[in-house]
């Protein structure tokens, strides 16, 4: 009996609190910086596109909404000839961002992507590529990962195996174990 009256009272005094609703089209909600929204392709600080067309994002994507085709540039660097994201399938899970080795693909705090025409939901590379470095300013994959630091070369460490002979018909591992025993 008392609990019923208490419940009635507690519900009633909610009237005097400010509603938590955000009146959306007039007021925009405050989105956190790591909000998983519209996907972009970023550039490194030099203005070169970061994507190396490794296809890891397309492999990681659980709904297969990413399509791209690698190509070689004049200087031997890989780049995507086309890069297409079908946002009508995308679930904004962020797995592509986690898979990307070069921080090229990133999710941004923007969700206002509604279209009247379903075909307009397919974004091509020119729609995805932005002119800045996104969440990682100053990061350039080729300067930080796999770069020569002048310490030791591959296979010269204390317990490190030497590089595999790619052209040998023998299984690489056996060959290397023999080498290391010597």
């Amino acid at each position: 009996m008392f609990s019923i009256l208490r419940t009635l009272w507690l519900v009633f005094i909610n009237m005097f609190y400010k509603p938590i609703t955000v009146k959306y089209p007039e007021e925009k909600p405050e989105l956190p910086a790591r909000y998983r929204g519209r996907i972009v392709l970023t550039r490194d600080p030099d203005g070169d596109e970061r994507c190396v067309a490794c296809n890891l994002c397309a492999a990681a994507c659980p709904v297969d909404c990413i399509a791209l085709e690698p190509a070689l540039r004049g200087d031997g660097r890989r780049y995507p000839r086309f890069f297409r994201i079908n946002f009508s399938r995308c679930i904004m899970c962020g797995m592509c961002e986690e898979a990307c080795p070069t921080y090229a693909i990133q999710l941004t705090p923007d969700f206002e992507m509604a279209e009247y025409n379903r075909r307009d939901m397919v974004y091509e590379k020119e729609h995805l590529l932005i002119s800045g470095p996104g969440k990682y300013p100053g990061y350039n994959f080729y300067r930080e990962a796999g770069a020569e630091m002048g310490v030791k070369r591959a296979g010269e460490g204390e317990h490190e195996r030497g590089p595999m002979d790619l052209h040998s018909p023998l299984p690489g591992s056996l060959d290397q174990e023999e080498q290391s025993r010597k």
């Binding site: 019923i4 419940t7 009635l8 909610n14 509603p19 938590i20 609703t21």
Partner: protein, 317 residues
Amino acid sequence: MYSVLWSLLSIIIAMFGSLTVAAGLIMVERRLLGIWTRRYGPNRAGPFGLLQVAADMIKIFFKEDWVPPFADRTVFVMSPAVIFMTVLMSFMVVPLSPFVVSSRLNVGLLFFLAMSSLGVYSIVLGGWASGSKYPLLGSIRSITQMLSYEAFMGLSVVGVVLFAGSFNLVDIVKAQKGLWFVIPQLPAFIIFLIGGVAVIHRLPFDLPEAESELVDGYHTEYSGMKFGLFFVGEYLGIVLISAMTVTLFLGGWLGPGLPPIIWFLLKTAACIVLIILLRASLPRPRIDQLLTFGWKVLLPLALVNILVTGAIYIAIQ
């Protein structure tokens, strides 16, 4: 001649007034539920969302009105009209002010109880004629619930009738000039309110249509305007129970300063808000809990109330 015209006018006022209020409640209820859960409720259509009523009406008029092939067509079509009519008939005896009364029936209170009993037919027939299991389960529940709670509702007003010495609702209000019946008849007031909410099967006593167990209860198979009639009938029921509570216990149109009809409307509005607050806050009991509470708590309470009131009445005489 003049009196006939006047009561015709009163009928029109009561009918259009109650229908307008019932339609407005569709929006007011959602708005209040929103406010009590720290939301806004429907506030987009028109100023303060007032045009939501019009939007809902347009929507429900243009919905497909489908009769299932396995339903008993005649009864199926008829039953939504029954609840609508019985509730609207009850408004006939409700005195809005000393002058705005559609009918000064000398058995007004009994007429109200009879009409609310007839309302059960609508739900029972609707559930039966639908020809499927959940509506039938809902109407079985509504028989047990509404018939038992009508008993307590009828018993609770006996004290009021004893004090007023009349079944005429105008006389009952006039008898409250000195003291509103809510004070000497507090247990009866509480029983009447609980019984009333159960009889119009509003939340928390909406067992005949419990969505979480019975899909939508007796109106599962209804669509379009037939469903709309059930819906408006339910809201009319809220207005009716509030108006009857005000008439029987809260002094009807009596009050200082303001014109009588304004007092009546204000009190009724407060009662409606209370019933919506019950919906916003309380969970639904099981059907056995509901009936146990009715027969083991409310019935003895109502009987004791009658005994004590009768004893006091005889002692005063």
